[in-house]
Assembly symmetry: C2
Homo-oligomer: 189 residues x 2
Amino acid sequence: MGRWEPNARGRMAEAALQLYSEHGYEQTTVAEIARRAGLTERTFFRHYADKREVLFAGSGELEELFVRAVAGAPESAAPIDAVAAGLDAVAQMFAGRREYARRRHAVITATPELKERELIKLASMSAALAGTLRRRGVAEPAASLTAEAGIAVFKVGFERWAAAAEEREMSQVMREALDELRAVTAGGR
Amino acid sequence: MGRWEPNARGRMAEAALQLYSEHGYEQTTVAEIARRAGLTERTFFRHYADKREVLFAGSGELEELFVRAVAGAPESAAPIDAVAAGLDAVAQMFAGRREYARRRHAVITATPELKERELIKLASMSAALAGTLRRRGVAEPAASLTAEAGIAVFKVGFERWAAAAEEREMSQVMREALDELRAVTAGGR
């Protein structure tokens, strides 16, 4: 291990985001990301497997937070309310991070390889939530469907919250998206 | 173009599925797939970009069928009922194909690269459904949330239908999954 580099991960993520925005993901190399962050390529590879991973540093933390909040919801809470508690916890984590999230979302939307990675992240979160709900005693397929519903709300809510003109807090946007999902699934028949 | 090869696409998909099951996806080459199908590599690449695509030959057809059924639902139908009509149409398409679907699903589940491709397929279907619902006059975020709900039901329902012991028809499994989604989202509060 080399000398201590303060906030190396954050600096590399910010450098990567800048370069992907300026030149595109395909055109950017790990060497350029490391240089812009004032670090070496070796340091980059100590933290990330490749240039796709650098924008997903927070995925593990996000999933853990979501899962922990669902697991920690009152035993009496309905599965969908446990998931709502998870969405609320996640929304707290994004407080004050909208500008970064917007820039990151724009780059991901423009880059098929990053969009794929984002889908993998969401599928992993969904599987983790379903497992947590089963441990709360929820049977299948209810556990998987509730988890998928939660991820649908997170995905659609996140996009709304990150949209250019949006100013409401994420927690409010997520609650509205969940209410809307309840309304659309209750409709018809 | 070479001579006419009857059902070249289907033969290559079946050959790929056999080889992926026997030796694993990583270990299988396009040359081996073509040989087992009794065709040339050139023919393979006339039909598929690479060995990942060969198991997704029907994705376009599936999405089109789903979208067409949603678009063609009665004008008065609630968005979720239009999606239910789409699920029903999709279920008809899979009638008599459970054995193939089971084998394909097992290979995909065991192969990260194919799982990614499956996620891309589902995301594409969701986006297409949301667009179709907007053209039916459904506002956002209701359109995207209804589409995501439909894909959640398709994903969870498909896995149930493809499970080893399952004998019910796909249309029934899908209807039950949709009812279950309605029940879980209606719970709590």
